[in-house]
Amino acid sequence: MRVEQIAVFLENKSGRLAEITAVLADNGINIRALSVADTADFGILRLIVDKVELAKKVLKDNGFTVGKTNVLAVEVPDRTGGLAMVLKTIEKAGINVEYMYAFVNKSGENAVLIFRFEDMDKAIGSLQAAGFTMLTGEQICAL
């Protein structure tokens, strides 16, 4: 149910993102989704990749601070109101969203929403009860 996500600490200086993506490419790691959160001083790169452990290892070997967290991937139809439906369910359950990002899969029919919730278990329960589809890591990579 949960999807493993890699997070990398980034100082705001030029070329860091390029270095990370080059390291991943050199090791045959495919990025399925990513987002960058930043402040004036630093940023956090969040990645969903096909080879989580390998990605973590090669980035660490290259001197990056890497963390691993669980997120939820919710699949919704790619049409108006898709995200709103999910957020309404979450809001009703009184759950905080720490962060989120999204991508549209290749077929173009569905969008995948990546969430980090304050209370992951409660979020899974609420989303399941409301009938949403949650993808596993393998499923995301197979999209």
Partner: protein, 436 residues
């Protein structure tokens, strides 16, 4: 110009007379600390010196040094020679690992200090009738109260402004008409710049003299502050362990030398590595023996300040030895906005925060005329989070704890691992970009 003295006799004593007073006071001091202070007795016994062995001023060299660590090891009151009911004041300055250095004053010590500050201020050209704008911080720091008591003793009117609230300080400078400004030199420049920014012309003020100390300042800074504020700027030296400000002061024509009140503080300059006393004129570490202090006298206290001594008579008429403006330190202590900061204190804060590794660097800069301190901290895997909020809280926590311990506001920047230079396996902890 005729010189005005506060205590003409003491300030112009021929050396032989001065030395006989120093010797008398030194012998009395050594006998007293040997009898009353266990740590001193132990050190002297270990060195095989008895009070009676001190027969000439040169015998001072037989006595062991006292270090800042001795004050810390006997924290807070262990080196006091008097019972606490004779102590009427305590001050403290920051120590190297979080424990501060505590000093005490008897009523007579406060009186001595006020008198020496009045002597110093007179030497700088201040007198009864002056209005003193005292922007040194009031509190545990000796600057504020030291200047305050001295100015009152002098017969000047003191405005106890303390630090901060620069706009209000400018209003006071305009409305109260102070003639003497006492502050750190960087704060004086900050005042000047703020005046310029708000359109106040320093020429419309009544300021005549600036007495600046508590941090190193260059010749260029002196010229700048003199020009900008239209005053004569004078350097004052002191350290809380010895008494506070007022240990030494520039006279108006010594041009870079500070007269030490030698009748109270016996100076030596030593080679910091060997401890050997250096001949007059040679550069080394300044060491003081307090001759008259009651509550916490110090014998051969290592200041870690680098200077040299000049014994030739000054054109002002004072026979008191002159020390060169302090040009550096023998340790890694930084002075930031008048506050002593040791890199080890920053390290102490960092290792106290769970998961933070002591990989850090301190970057000191001077923006405008104010020192800024930035602490770079490497983000380890244990403290890393994928949430911005958590990392921002971490940076904030470090900042708050450094402020709590050191009293200095810094900015904290989180950096990637191994981005802090390691030279020969040892990190370069401090990058000081100030041009002093």
């Amino acid at each position: 110009m005729t010189t005005t003295y506060w205590e003409e006799e003491m300030e112009t004593l021929p050396r032989a007379g001065l030395e006989s007073i120093q010797l008398l006071r030194l012998r009395r001091l050594v006998a007293r600390v040997y009898a009353k202070v266990e740590p001193y007795r132990r050190k002297m016994d270990a060195a095989g010196v008895k009070p009676d062995d001190i027969r000439t001023l040169a015998d001072l060299q037989k006595l062991p040094f006292t270090y800042k660590n001795d004050l810390r090891d006997n924290y807070p009151f262990g080196l006091f020679t008097v019972p606490l009911d004779e102590v009427v004041r305590v001050h403290a300055s920051s120590g190297t690992t979080g424990k501060s250095t505590v000093v005490g004053y008897t009523r007579k010590d406060i009186d001595t200090w006020a008198n020496l500050m009045a002597r110093a201020m007179t030497c700088a050209g201040a007198h009864r009738g002056d209005i003193v704008h005292n922007a040194y911080g009031y509190g545990l720091f000796t600057g504020g109260l030291g200047a305050h008591y001295g100015a009152e003793r002098l017969g000047a009117a003191v405005i106890p402004v303390s630090g901060g609230n620069t706009r209000r300080q400018i209003t006071i400078l305009q409305d109260f008409g102070p003639t003497v400004l006492m502050s750190t030199p960087s704060y004086a420049l900050n005042l000047a710049d703020t005046m310029e920014a708000v359109g106040v012309d320093p020429a419309t003020l009544s300021l005549r003299i600036g007495i600046f100390g508590a941090e190193p300042w260059s010749k260029n800074m002196r010229e700048e502050v003199e020009k900008k504020l239209n005053i004569k700027a004078v350097d004052i030296y002191g350290l809380s362990e010895v008494i506070g400000p007022g240990v030494a002061i520039e006279c108006r024509n010594s041009n870079g030398g500070l007269h030490i009140s030698e009748d109270h503080f016996l100076p030596e300059v030593i080679d910091p590595d060997t401890g050997r006393v250096l001949p007059p004129g040679e550069l080394g570490e300044l060491v003081f023996t307090t001759l008259t202090k009651e509550a916490i006298p110090l014998i051969r206290y290592r200041t870690k300040d680098i200077s040299r001594l000049f014994y030739d008579t000054c054109s002002c008429g004072r026979t008191l030895v002159r020390m060169e403006k302090v040009t550096g330190r023998t340790d890694d202590m930084l002075i930031i906005r008048g506050v002593n900061v040791f890199p080890s204190q920053v390290e102490h804060v960092l290792v106290g925060i769970k998961g933070v590794e002591p990989h850090y660097q301190i970057v000191v800069e001077r923006e405008g005329n104010l020192d800024t301190m930035q602490v770079l901290v490497e983000v380890s895997e244990t403290v890393f989070s994928d949430e911005i909020r958590i990392l921002e809280n971490l940076a904030k926590k470090i900042q708050v704890e450094i402020k709590d311990l050191l009293g200095v506001t810094c900015s904290v920047k989180l950096v990637e691992p191994r981005t802090i230079q390691r030279s020969e396996g040892k990190a370069q902890r401090v990058i000081d970009k100030r041009k002093l």
